[in-house]
């Protein structure tokens, strides 16, 4: 009878203890998981013993709702044993001692294999179209009104005898949007060099400033007008966001540029810049991949390059076959994504049915961690 009572009222130990080297990490980490107890407990304690040590050391206390612990205070290559203790008031119930386990760093993140497959596939697609473009195959690209307006905008500034203001965004050189902006700046600088129009490029980032300077200088040299290049017109202002916005607003109001370009990465200052430009009566062409700033530019500017159009601009303006080929690759990439979205949605719906559960494996493959 006493044994029967003990059987019913003694706290059961945690079961299904699973201890393994944490996958896809830089080492020094072991993951411990166990089956959560059905009865209510206060907490779980995780104990660890290294090989050659006599006693277990407490390495973590978890609330009753948790059933997994990552021990990141271990030495790579050293063998460890673990046990989990369920605690309920004064009662304690220990699990069995785990199998020996040791941590090690990994050389490949298997959870990113889907990204690798995607990048390889998309790169192959791009290279295929670039190869075709190299062979001289004519490729069609749709018209982008914002980029068609560049020539008109430069011409207008020349006729009015006013400068062109080019803002290469507020991002650093690490932002691809900034690099795309500098590519467009090169094309715009070539046009201003040909028309002898003043080009003002205020910068927020010192590295972007130095690159923008070189891009403009090279562009002027490439069209045979190095004499027309004025280094003082490509300048650094400040790296403070709103101080930069205030300074650019000042330039707009004082110099009254005929055309304003806003290309690159922008944050809250986007509307401050674009609205001030609109009040001065300038033609404004903007382009950004910052989704939250796009509505502001669409509202306040005459033309806006939305997202990917910013990256397409350099190819569109230069009309170089190799760059145009890559645009075609991008378009086909989008087509593939669209197809995957449709198929994935169907799989997700079907996976709710028991006989189509295996679709979940395919869906999991596409989830990025």
């Amino acid at each position: 009878m006493v044994y029967l009572l003990l059987f019913f009222f003694t706290l059961a130990p945690p079961t299904s203890l699973c201890v393994f080297d944490t996958p896809n990490d830089a080492g020094k980490s072991i993951t411990i998981s166990w089956q959560k107890l059905e009865e209510e407990v206060s907490c779980y304690e995780v104990w660890r013993r290294g090989e050659g040590e006599t006693d277990f050391q407490l390495c973590g206390i978890l609330p009753a709702t948790e059933c997994q612990f990552v021990d990141d205070k271990v030495i790579d290559g050293k063998v460890y044993y673990y046990k989990v203790v369920a605690v309920k008031g004064e009662e304690r119930a220990e699990s069995e001692i785990s199998n020996p386990v040791k941590s090690s760093p990994q050389w490949f993140a298997t959870n990113r294999i889907n990204v690798l497959v995607g990048v390889i596939f998309f790169s192959a697609l791009l290279l295929y179209f670039i190869y075709h473009a190299r062979k001289g195959k004519k490729l069609f690209i749709r018209r982008i009104s914002g980029l068609d307006a560049v020539e008109e905008a430069v011409g207008r500034a020349t006729e009015m005898g006013k400068p062109i203001l080019y803002i290469p965004g507020l991002g650093s050189i690490a932002d691809i949007a900034t690099i795309a902006s500098l590519n467009i700046l090169g094309e715009v600088a070539k046009k201003t060099a040909q028309y002898e129009t003043t080009l003002l490029v205020p910068n927020r980032d010192p590295i972007v400033y130095t690159v923008a300077y070189e891009v403009c200088k090279e562009a002027y040299t490439n069209v045979g007008r190095p004499d027309a290049f004025k280094g003082e017109n490509i300048f650094f202002i400040t790296d403070a966001q709103f101080a930069y916005a205030a300074a650019v607003d000042g330039i707009m109001v004082r110099e009254k540029p005929a055309t304003n370009f806003f290309m690159g990465m922008f944050w809250a200052e986007s509307l401050i810049l674009a609205e001030t430009g609109a009040t001065t009566g300038a033609i404004q062409i903007a382009g950004t991949d910052a989704v939250h700033q796009l509505p502001f530019f669409i509202t306040a500017c005459d033309y806006t390059l939305i997202g990917e159009e910013l990256y397409a601009a350099s190819a569109y303006l230069s009309k170089e076959p190799l760059l145009v080929g890559s645009l075609k690759g991008q378009d086909y990439g989008k087509l593939v994504i669209l197809f995957l979205l449709l198929v994935g949605s169907c799989f997700l719906l079907l996976s709710a049915l028991p006989q189509f559960r295996f679709f979940q494996v395919i869906i999991r493959f596409f989830s990025v961690s």
Partner: protein, 207 residues
């Protein structure tokens, strides 16, 4: 050589950084840390060039008495004074430099930021003028969203906030994701073109 070396460096670093993303090993992490340190060092040198640019630009304006050159005097004096104060009294939590930052830079930045509210009102007026079918749709959608997000909207109809939430999380989110897909592909394509040396705009020319 002046062009080949940057292109070769760009290719090597581009490939290494792309591989780094897939390698969690500590060697890969320490390589990334090293690159980040290098970027900081280069930024420090570039900042010196930036300060030179500011100083020269404003010095020229003062020398030629060009436009509102008085502002240039204020800029140069502020630049020198701030640098000297930082060098003499340090940059600690209770330093004069921090005092300048907290009492001049922060309020000025906040002032510029607050101006955004007025610009938003004027931009909204322009955007919501129902001249076309699209603008009318935008006006109606924004009216529902704005009303659904404030207590008075829920007081008018409890369904209004649900409708606003639906507009944000379904049609708005779908458009956002569409743009983001395009951006992601654009980023990969641009990166690949730069790594392979097809896109050379950042070097100032193509060939």
């Amino acid at each position: 050589m002046a062009r080949t070396l940057p292109l070769a460096l760009c290719f090597i670093m581009g490939v290494l950084m792309a591989c780094q993303f897939f390698i969690p090993h500590p060697l890969s992490q320490s390589f990334l840390d090293l690159i980040i340190k290098w970027v900081r060092i280069i930024s420090a040198f570039a900042l010196a060039l930036g300060v030179r640019s500011v100083t020269l630009r404003h010095y020229e304006r003062i020398k030629r008495r060009k436009g509102e050159w008085g502002f240039s005097v204020v800029t140069i004096v502020s630049l020198l004074a701030t640098a000297l104060i930082g060098l003499i009294w340090g940059v600690g939590a209770k330093s004069y430099l921090r005092l300048i930052f907290s009492n001049i830079m922060v309020p000025l930045g906040a002032t510029m930021f607050s101006i955004l509210a007025f610009y938003m009102a004027s931009a909204a007026y322009r955007a919501f003028r129902a001249r076309t079918k699209e603008a009318t749709l935008l006006l109606i959608a924004s009216f529902i969203v704005m009303l659904g997000m404030v207590p008075i909207g829920t007081a008018i109809s409890p369904r209004l906030s649900d409708l606003a939430e639906w507009l944000l999380s379904v049609p708005n989110m779908a458009a956002k994701r569409g743009i983001m897909f395009g951006v992601a592909l654009g980023v990969i394509a641009t990166s690949l073109k730069i790594i392979l040396g097809i896109e050379r705009g950042w070097l100032g020319g193509r060939r």
